[in-house]
Chain length 502, copies 2
């Protein structure tokens, strides 16, 4: 074995220790949100703080820096994949060495407690209860941005954690393009004479039957139930990795579409993790490219496939079999229109496909100005409500589940994450157009409940590569061009034009 | 702050890192047995191996040895509690430094995989499937005994992990005393004209109702449900600690006594962990004294209290309310006799109070001879079945759930643990006699469903002290004398004499 291979193996085995410790934190976070009794919070905070410190210690070990330097100086005989893994380990190392261990531990402790307080505050719609904790999270996030460094705006440093190279400026431009196309389209839809009958979804759909149907869909699109689970939590999420991937949802018995599309969304995330390369587990090439790429998968399955007509040509009879009374007199077309109903609404995770990006743009702007210092924590309820009025034409009735406290992200200091959701839509639009050209008779296959070609296509074009390529590099290989929002806006225009007879 | 206090604080904070990492392993073990999908085993093995290595590294850090030496050389100004904590940290440090880190990691990896194989082999009653893994576990355990060192017998080194100072010789003597008293008593019971009507328990008791009753009992005896949970696993256990204590059980719908007394047993363990001193969390004074002491608590609640007449004078009406049809025409006395029915049986965890110790003695002797090298792994099914015939007069119909594969312990290399169960009975007998003298009207209180004085007594005499005293020291403080088996054998003789009219 050559010297460079020995050094590479040592580097990867050191990175693996860090990576495995991160997955342990994932298990504890899952447990905290799904299983843990309330008085376990203090104990869990101790556990997470020590693990955060240890995994940081592992990633920032001086030996990792030495190995990266040596490998960069004499990369002879290393394959392209090896070089990509070294490049990405170096990225993680550089990001992590910028934060002192004590800072990481303190941040973890504050986040764990803040999360518990947020859950209470959200239930009570009491922003003041959460505000002092959010102050701390914002201050610590600004401090993190300073540690990371940035050229233009401190928020750039936070975005970069989730979306390498992403900036406030870049997203402002992308969002402008999306707004320019979508706002006129939204107005047309809201004035269309076609009206969905949403009341057919407000009937009583028992949670256990919703779960049964959700599991049917998960399994049929390709989720391996021997290597994963579906559970319940306040805020739905996907965690774990190849071999043990766990998704969660929450059931509203008078609005089954929430859990249904939530499950399909999280299944999209899960399929990405499930189909990564087994050869590169616990290394960057076995990890998702970015949060935006992750969201492209979840939103592809949720909306492009799961809210499409071919999908329901296959699944509607199964849905009727599970809910015979609730679907009496409801045609597949009625149902399709109901699950694609467009409206002005308060809650992001329940928002329809057309208005979803406006919810994201609102959060993006607030985060940018909060981190930039133009908005203070105490102003948040006011700023939130004003922007809701400006963009969606409605004012939330409270600061809790319908208002500023609705999302889990800020309680975990995930500033910079939100833009990834809309980026995911844009990427999904672009992948979708190419995939439709390359898989012959794709709609007929979906109508027959055959999803394996779609999953294979996504696996080969996206999942298997992990972090091997950058976003635009991967998109160019997969679709022939870098990110271009026209694919997404064109998809929306076509789909809703048809549904609403515009 | 004096120098010795500074050193003490540093020692305790270093020990705490180790201790918290151990609790993380506890969460992952719980998850593995309750929640984890089957294909998660490889991933979990990686996680547990790294955590085992890290917690070992933390406990064996040279600085801990230095701090212990310094504190032992100048203990001025330290309280008795501080000195006890230093003594017990030193014990853990010395035990751990004897095992090389690589050995600990390898052992953890082998155990995790062996556990999965054991679960399959047990279901298929296929000893050969598990045997090669058990070979490895025995070899590694012998190697561990050599690392630890011992005077008399390698098994002593393994027992000492769970029961400090316990030896094969000591247990042989204790078990001889128990056998001499119990075998004649067992024969009298089996020949008594009083016969329980066990068929009243073979009716259909739905699992969800069993769970409901179990939770009632847990709560009423003092388990804080905001700081713990009850779940299902193949082999029942208790894990976690103050703030988040989790017990498990399994439901047999035609034998509700199994889960019922399983839950009360695990609740006994849980109450010990729940009532330790909050001032000493994550240090030895916040941990249970020994496995034998732990079992004394579980078996006290399960048998001495939970299978007693006063307990059912309180709970029988509640049981009837949950199971009105199943208990039709069944008096409290019929029920009491049925749950105290004595018989020759195959499965330890389902064995009655009278024959239980014989199951333990069998395992104790097999482990002793397996570790001593007088018995080989391949002989185990034969040796097991012969001893079952000799001690209990019956031969198991298979090597699975009714035979040699029934217990989880060997799959986790818990050699040396089994004797603790019977030691627990002996300790419980001694505590019970003193407690009955010190709590006026104890039976009447139990009949009224009042358990707080019992829990207070156990907290003050046992739980709060953690590892501050040795077993005999604690027993002498609590009961006036060191361990004496006559309390336990006398208790059995009195209880079963009354039930079976001997």
């Amino acid at each position: 074995m050559s010297d460079s291979h020995k050094l590479y193996d040592e580097l990867v085995s050191k990175y693996k220790e860090y990576s495995v410790l991160s997955t342990v934190q994932g298990v504890l976070h899952w447990d905290m949100q799904v299983i843990m009794p309330p008085e376990g919070a203090g104990r869990r905070a101790e556990q997470l703080a020590i693990l955060a410190g240890l995994s940081h210690e592992k990633l920032t070990a001086g030996r990792i820096g030495e190995l990266i330097d040596k490998l960069n100086n004499s990369p002879n005989g290393l394959s392209e994949a090896h070089r990509a893994n070294i490049r990405e380990i170096a990225r993680d190392y550089q990001l992590a060495t910028k934060l002192p261990k004590e800072f990481v531990e303190e941040f973890s402790r504050v986040k764990t407690l803040a999360h518990e307080i947020w859950a209470e505050a959200r239930t009570k719609a009491d922003f003041g209860h959460f505000a002092p904790h959010l102050e701390k999270l914002v201050a610590l996030s600004k401090q993190a941005a300073n540690y990371y460094g940035y050229k233009d705006h401190p928020y750039d440093a936070l975005i970069d954690q989730f979306e390498p190279g992403g900036t406030a400026k870049m997203f402002t431009k992308l969002f402008d393009e999306v707004k320019a196309a979508n706002i006129p389209l939204l107005n047309k839809i809201l004035h269309s004479s076609v009206k969905a009958n949403r009341s057919i979804l407000n009937r009583d759909y028992p949670a256990d039957l919703q779960k049964k149907f959700g599991e049917q869909v998960m399994t049929q699109v390709g989720f391996n139930t021997k290597a994963g689970r579906l559970d319940v939590s306040v805020h739905p999420f996907c965690s774990g990795g190849k071999g043990d991937i766990r998704i969660t949802t929450r059931y509203n018995e008078q609005a089954p579409q929430q859990a249904l599309f939530g499950v399909i969304h999280e299944t999209g995330h899960a399929l990405y993790e499930q189909e990564v390369s087994g050869d590169y587990l616990f290394t960057p090439l076995g990890e998702a490219l970015s949060m935006g790429m992750h969201e492209s998968q979840s939103r592809m399955w949720e909306n492009f496939i799961g809210r499409g007509k071919p999908f329901w040509k296959h699944f509607y009879a199964k849905w009727q079999a599970i809910f015979p009374q609730q679907t009496r007199g409801v045609s597949m077309e009625d149902f399709l229109l109901a699950i694609n109903h467009v409206e002005r609404s308060f809650v992001r995770v329940e928002a329809d496909e057309m208005t979803y990006d406006l919810h994201i743009i609102l959060r993006f702007e607030i985060e940018r100005d909060l981190i930039g210092g133009q908005v203070s924590v105490n102003d948040l309820p006011t700023v939130w409500n004003k922007k809701m009025q400006d963009y969606l034409g409605i004012t939330p009735p409270n600061n809790g589940k319908e208002g500023v406290l609705q999302d889990v992200h800020w309680s975990e200091a995930y500033f910079g994450y939100f833009p990834s959701y809309s980026l995911g839509n844009m990427i999904a639009g672009q992948l979708w157009n190419t995939m439709r050209n390359e898989i012959a008779g794709i709609d007929a296959k979906i109508e027959n409940g055959q999803f394996s070609e779609i999953l294979n296509w996504l696996r080969e074009k996206v999942h298997l590569h992990g972090r091997r390529f950058g976003r635009d590099e991967l998109l160019t290989k997969a679709t022939g061009s870098a990110l271009d929002t026209q694919h997404y806006t064109g998809y929306l225009s076509h789909k809703f034009g048809e549904l609403y007879q515009l």
